[in-house]
Structure formats: C-alpha cells, structure tokens
C-alpha cells in the first residue's frame, strides 16, 4: 500500500506545477509565434499611424459655437 500522500489538493497542485514546467521545457517559444507577435505589432502600429495622419490632415468643420472667436467674425 503506498504511503499516505500529503493530501489530494496538494498532490494535484504539485502535479500542475510539474506539468506546466515540463510543458514549458518541451515547448520553447517558436520562431513562428515570435514572428506573428512582431508582425501584429507592426500592423497595429501602422494602422494607428494612419488614423493619426488622417486626424491631423482632415480639416476641422467650422465651429458652430457662439461668441468671440467662435466663427462670428468675418474672415480678413
């Protein structure tokens, strides 16, 4: 009869730690995954730049506010 293990929960927790550590050793980060990360960052960044550029080049619509400096004065 096997000796009484510490307890079920501790044994399962220990197994989980071992399995995850073993998995990490058997499955190092792949070059394919790293390339996916890099290209996704690049695409997201390019998309952001495009949006930023569009924001800065799009002329603002004339303001409809009231008062001084709010479009009430005629252009000189």
């Amino acid at each position: 009869m096997p000796p009484e293990p510490t307890n079920a929960e501790a044994a399962l927790t220990k197994l989980g730690q071992r399995v995850r550590a073993g998995w990490a050793r058997q499955h190092p980060v792949s070059e394919r995954s790293l390339e996916t990360v890099r290209s996704t960052v690049r695409q997201s960044w390019e998309q952001e730049q495009k949006v930023k550029r569009a924001r800065t080049t799009t002329p603002k619509p004339p303001s409809k506010g009231k008062g001084k400096g709010q479009g009430l004065e005629p252009e000189v």
């Binding site: 989980g16 399995v19 995850r20 998995w23 980060v29 960052v41």
Partner: protein
C-alpha cells in the same frame, strides 16, 4: 506591480515601433508556456498551432485596449481571447476536441520538469496519486480538476470556461475533489 501588467502598461504608452515589438515579445514570453498548454490541450496538434497564432494576433492587436489593473485580470483576459478562438475552431471542426491527457504524456512532462528541478523524495508518490485522482474522476469532474489544478486556472477562469458562476465553480471543484478522494480511499 505585477511584471506582466507593468509591461502591458508600458506597451500602451509606447509609440516607438521597435520598443513596442520588444515589449510585446517580452509579454508573450511570459505568457507563452501556460497559454500554449491551454490551447494545445484544447485542440489537436495539427490545428493547435494555427489556433495559437490566431490567439496571439488577437491578444497583441488588442493590447492597447486592455484596461485591467492586475496580472490576474490580464490572464483572465488572455484566456477569454483564447477560449473564443478555440470555440471558433470547434465550430469549424467539432470532432477536434481533445481527450484527457494520457498518464504517459503527463509523466513525460513531469520528467522534463525534473531535468531542471529533480523530484524531491516522496514527490513521485504524490504525483502518482494526483494522476490516479484525475484518472478516477468522472469525466465532468476530471475536466474541472484538470483546468483548476493542472492548467492552473483560478475559480473565476474555470467559471468562465464552464459557463457557470464563480461560487458554482469553486463548490464543484471542492465536491469533485471530495468525491474522487473517497473513491481512492
């Protein structure tokens, strides 16, 4: 502050492309082992690699929108994304759902971990006992115990996985543990 959250926050504040790429890589290296285990144990290997790439794309492209404050929240957010991608895969190929990991595969992982940190005296018996608990559980219980103890998901993440609330997941795990412990006694 949690290392992961620090990296994610820095990523969100960084506008330089090369810095962002490096930060994203650092984040990925921290989450890769558990994330790949999660995906590869949910989908068969031929398609798991493709699903993993989809998960990575979704995580990286959404990093800017992550608004949590803790590592736990970040993990929950990553698993949620992974789960959605895995579910997309199941919808496409319903027969691809994996069976529980066989004991010999579990031992292979344990042996790999022992190369870095040798098993302590008596640990092998504990691990054998844990494997018997998993093997002796009813399928539904086995799934709960596997997710919580082996994959390392917390109660909240298991609850999301199983589509139940937090307390239901916590109680179910406790009940499953009691049940199988009695069976093994």
């Amino acid at each position: 502050m949690d290392e992961l959250v620090k990296l994610v926050r820095t990523y969100r504040l960084t506008n330089v492309l090369t810095d962002r790429a490096q930060l994203a890589e650092d984040i990925f290296r921290l989450i890769a082992p558990e994330l790949t285990l999660f995906v590869f144990k949910a989908v068969r290997p031929p398609v798991a690699e493709d699903v993993l790439q989809e998960v990575l794309k979704a995580i990286v492209s959404s990093l800017q929108s992550f608004s949590g404050a803790t590592g736990r929240e970040f993990w929950g957010w990553c698993y949620r994304i992974a789960r959605n991608k895995i579910n997309d895969q199941y919808r496409a190929q319903a027969s691809e759902r994996l069976q529980p990991m066989p004991p010999e595969e579990l031992w292979g992982l344990v042996e790999s971990s022992a190369e870095a940190a040798p098993l302590a005296a008596g640990e092998r018996l504990d691990l054998e006992y844990a494997m018997k608990l998993l093997a002796g559980s009813k399928p539904e219980c086995g799934e709960y115990l596997w997710k919580h103890y082996v994959l390392g998901l917390d109660y909240g993440e298991v609850a999301e996985e199983q589509n139940v609330n937090y307390d239901a997941a916590r109680m179910k795990i406790g009940r499953c543990l009691d049940e199988v412990r009695k069976l093994m006694a």
